[in-house]
Amino acid sequence: MDTRDALVTAADVTRTFPLDHSAVTALDHVSLAVKQGEFLAISGPSGSGKSTLLNLIGCIDKPTGGRILIDGVDTSQLSPSRTSALRREKIGFVFQTFNLIPVFTAAENVEFPLLVQGIGSAERRKRVAEALENVGLSSRANHRPDLLSGGERQRVAVARAIVHRPEIVLADEPTANLDTHNATQLIDLMRELNRSLGLTFIFSTHDQRLLEHTPRIVRLTDGRIASDEFSSSKPGVPNDSFSVVGVD
């Protein structure tokens, strides 16, 4: 596996979960490299390890074996506070159930990652406006999540994920709770942000509509990579993408 210039590298990653007196292996010696600007889908049946892999890349979980490198930094060697800082600065999350803070307006939700980063109020206002503009929700900035549709909520979640200009956006089943219309809009939005801002998108999905727009699809089965497919006909594939060749 060529990991030169890789933004994200999973090297021989294993994740097991204890269950009674045995252990369940969610990921089994997975290796993967993702370059800056990729638009990558992790697909597979339920229980195949999609979410586990995303959690490990997002540094919200630790591998049982192997290493996850973000920008060349071995995340397993980081202290909890450094890990937290890495997530804060380099990663944006989009969740299946949106996970917006219900007492905040759309704009305040988008502002939250900037607050955590300690960015000043004038800069925050500017970036929030930009992010909401990017997702087409400027007019809904002062609405609370319960007054927004599912599609709008997910777009707010996307705005929140990109507002602090992360290098990677991780999305766990982002279209699972959306109807076809909203799902298509979200897919188009993510692809547009990928192209225009050069953001790296890594997402898990079952959704064929989303997969049709995805230039690279990693398929997992029983915690192993079954295939890693590239489609050069789909826009957004970096010229020098990586292939999975097994464990280093």
Binding site: I60, A85, N99, I101, V103, F112, P113, L115, V116, R160
Partner: protein, 409 residues
């Protein structure tokens, strides 16, 4: 920081019914402390002033000998040149007047029955000048136009025991300063109530002149000093003490608080009850709030997981929960202070009276004083209590495993 506090404030009102219940509990606790503390303060202030006005005065001057040994004969430790001492004391700042007193005891007889009495001899004009007027329930106080040689005011219990009424005669017996037995016939001009049943059963008051004749002495037991205000007691004490030197006898002085044993006991009891109330309210608020905040934490597990996933420092999560608890505490305290004061005003306006407590003979007015110190103290206490209650949920929330929290249903 502003947005962070805004989040805490809005979170408080996410579950309005639960917040309302918590505020009612916190506010109720504060209001209870205000009412209880305000009532106890009224009682102790009332007792303090009545203790002083009933004749204790603010300061009392004695000879130093009075506290060094027991009297062998009556008044042998008394103040000899008391008029001069009174004159010197009267010139001190804050002093409103001086009342000489003789405390004595002996036997009283109605011709058929005898009993022990506790005598208090006073100068009626000086007493009246200081507002030390006995509570005469029948007859009159000492009058200058009385035809009686020796006037006497008798406690209600003693009057009943001796079966006398106003106008009847009694004979007082006492040991003189020489150790001889002497007697004097008195006429009951009034029946008085001190408010304390045990004292009413033995109380006998005659004039200073009569007592000096009975005891065959020119001395007095002590000089009672009345001040312009109870608050000036310490200042007057400090000003008076040097003036009492070089007056023949070595003199000493006691503040009203040193002599008001009963007041101190009652005050101690009130303080104890109030402290107990405070402890109960503190733990009531603490326990109920821990439960409320833990429920809030469980309900928001996924949200906390999301915040942690976005890189929110765990200390922020602790701070958020503590801020929410503090907001709840401040709102609860404000509610409690408002409700406590309004309830206090309503109770004061109602003219409510409580039955006399043990040892008392008169009903006690139910009044609540509005004490800023208690308002501040009880408010701080509930805020601290809530902040403490938030520690466990806050730490638990901050220690959530992000992946587990995100999959929480």
């Amino acid at each position: 920081m502003g947005k962070f506090l805004l989040l805490a404030f809005r979170n408080v009102f996410r579950n309005r019914r639960r917040t309302a219940m918590t505020l009612l509990m916190v506010g109720g606790g504060v209001a209870a402390l205000l009412l209880g503390g305000g009532y106890f303060r009224f009682m102790s202030q009332g007792l303090r002033e009545s203790t002083i006005r009933n004749g204790l005065g603010h300061l009392q001057i004695f000879t130093a000998e009075h506290f060094k040994r027991d009297e062998i004969h009556v008044l042998d430790t008394g103040i000899e040149n008391w008029r001069r001492v009174a004159s010197v004391a009267n010139a001190a700042p804050h002093v409103r007047g001086i009342a000489p007193r003789i405390e004595f005891y002996g036997m009283v007889s109605n011709g058929q029955k005898s009993s022990v009495y506790m005598g208090s001899a006073v100068d009626p004009a000086a007493e009246s000048g200081l507002g030390f007027n006995p509570n005469v329930v029948e007859g009159t106080n000492f009058t200058s136009n009385s035809k009686a040689d020796v006037q006497a005011l008798v406690g209600t219990g003693l009057a009943k025991s001796m079966n006398v009424k106003v106008g009847d005669g009694l004979t007082l017996l006492a040991v003189t300063s020489d150790g001889a037995l002497n007697g004097v016939d008195v006429q009951v001009t009034g029946i008085v109530r001190t408010g304390i049943a045990d004292l009413d059963a033995r109380y006998m008051r005659i004039t200073l002149d009569s007592a000096q004749r009975l005891l065959e002495s020119d001395r007095v037991t002590n000089l009672v000093v009345g001040l312009d205000s109870t608050a000036n007691t310490d200042a007057a004490y400090d000003a008076l003490l040097p003036r009492l030197r070089g007056l023949g006898q070595e003199m000493t002085m006691k503040k009203w608080l040193d002599l008001a044993t009963y007041y101190k006991q009652v005050r101690g009891m009130f303080d104890g009850i109030f402290l107990f109330m405070g402890v109960i309210v503190f733990f009531m608020v603490l326990m109920a709030s821990v439960n409320t905040l833990l429920m809030a934490m469980f309900e928001r597990t996924r949200e906390i997981g999301t915040m942690l996933a976005m890189g929110t420092p765990r200390a922020w999560i602790i701070g958020l929960f503590m801020a929410e608890a503090t907001v709840l505490g401040v709102l609860g305290a404000a509610l409690g202070v408002t409700a406590g004061n309004l309830l206090g005003m309503a109770l004061n306006a109602s003219g409510l009276h409580l039955p006399p407590p043990p040892g008392y003979t008169t009903p006690i007015a139910f009044r609540v004083l509005h004490i800023p110190g208690i308002m501040i103290g009880s408010s701080v206490m509930v805020v601290v209590s809530l902040a403490m209650a938030s520690i466990l949920p806050a730490v638990r929330a901050s220690r959530l495993q992000i992946v587990e929290a995100l999959s929480h249903v």
